[in-house]
């Protein structure tokens, strides 16, 4: 698939639409949904829903709406979520462990959540060989090899800020081009590598702005 220049703003909303469709096809017995309703439930205007979807094809029928299960499947495909995505997590501190558990629960409870942590890495020798949720902790030096072996395509980085850039360099070196970063620091990556930031301090500081309205 290649639709080249889809803007980031559009891509951010696709998982929102997918979530609504997954919920509806699980909980309700609805066959159809209009851009109006999909928008309401996703928190997006109906016009924007139609415009976003139109970048990828014609999924609806005039006068009728979108078929829930069809659009759901198309969105899964567009987001590459129709096949399982394997993830490596680097930095098995308390946050890393919590995310590993969280992900385990998510994949167990939601069959369609096709993103799974399959390998853990750390640099603390005392952790090597231990397992979290059945997944062994390995030295970061084995990253490239394991990524190749297991077909890992994504990484979650939960190391301290001062180690984040080195770790990310290694992750990129291992051929991974999608990274979710929790370290409170700016990362430099080559063209073509995508970093999503889960910088919680930044979010808290931003919220503080609104405190004495």
């Amino acid at each position: 698939m290649r639709w080249k220049k889809i803007s980031d703003a559009v891509v951010r909303r696709l998982p929102l639409y997918l979530r609504v469709l997954e919920e509806v096809s699980r909980d309700e017995d609805r066959k159809l949904m209009s851009s109006q309703e999909l928008g309401e439930r996703a928190g997006v205007s109906p016009a924007l829903v139609r415009k976003d979807l139109a970048w990828f094809g014609e999924f609806g029928k005039q006068g009728v709406g979108y078929e829930v299960s069809y659009l759901r499947d198309e969105l899964r495909r567009i987001l590459n979520l129709d096949e399982k995505i394997r993830v490596a997590l680097v930095g098995v501190g308390s946050l890393g462990q919590a995310l590993t558990r969280y992900n385990k629960n998510r994949t167990e409870q939601d069959r369609s959540f096709n993103i799974e942590i399959v390998a853990l890495f750390d640099n603390d020798p005392s952790k090597f060989g231990k397992t979290i949720e059945g997944i062994a902790i390995r030295p970061v030096s084995e990253l490239a090899q394991v990524v190749k072996e297991l077909g890992v395509q994504m990484a979650i980085v939960t190391v301290p800020a001062d180690q984040a850039q080195v770790v990310v360099d290694a992750v990129v070196q291992a051929g991974i081009r999608a990274i979710l970063n929790f370290a409170p620091t700016k990362l430099v990556v080559p063209e073509g590598v995508h970093v999503a930031s889960a910088d919680l301090s930044l979010e808290l500081q931003r919220l503080a702005y609104y405190l004495d309205d």
Copy 2:
């Protein structure tokens, strides 16, 4: 302070600038910084740095730049980070515990990180009375009372998705108007209440889009 209509895009960048200034005033012995350099280190264009700051006042000197410690203090003040902000965390599962530890470390290591978790809440009676990092876990029913007692101004929500809305209603009822939500669900809040979303599943699904470029 009231500058009314500062856009969200602007507010999001302020903590970025602040972070650069905190780092510089801690690690280097620099007195001045230009919008050029501040921008480079924050990942923002110099023109935008100047425009963002200009919303709040005139902090620089033509031909000279910005005084690091002065601008840092002004940004702290603008973001309400000049006094300690007390936070309640609701949902003490593995993620909640990890965030509590994470926050403890952050506040200990960085004197200027003025956001501190001071109360924990859960609905599982087996957890009541236990402590994490010295903070007692209490029933959610005590939320309003404790918020008042301790002067809590912000909440972190780490409960399962199906409980998030009820919990957030209680949080809002208790008078809190800034919430960081980790539950993978859309929340409805009254006007004037600010919710930042840390929806990790959404981020992972979004990253998946870029996988086979």
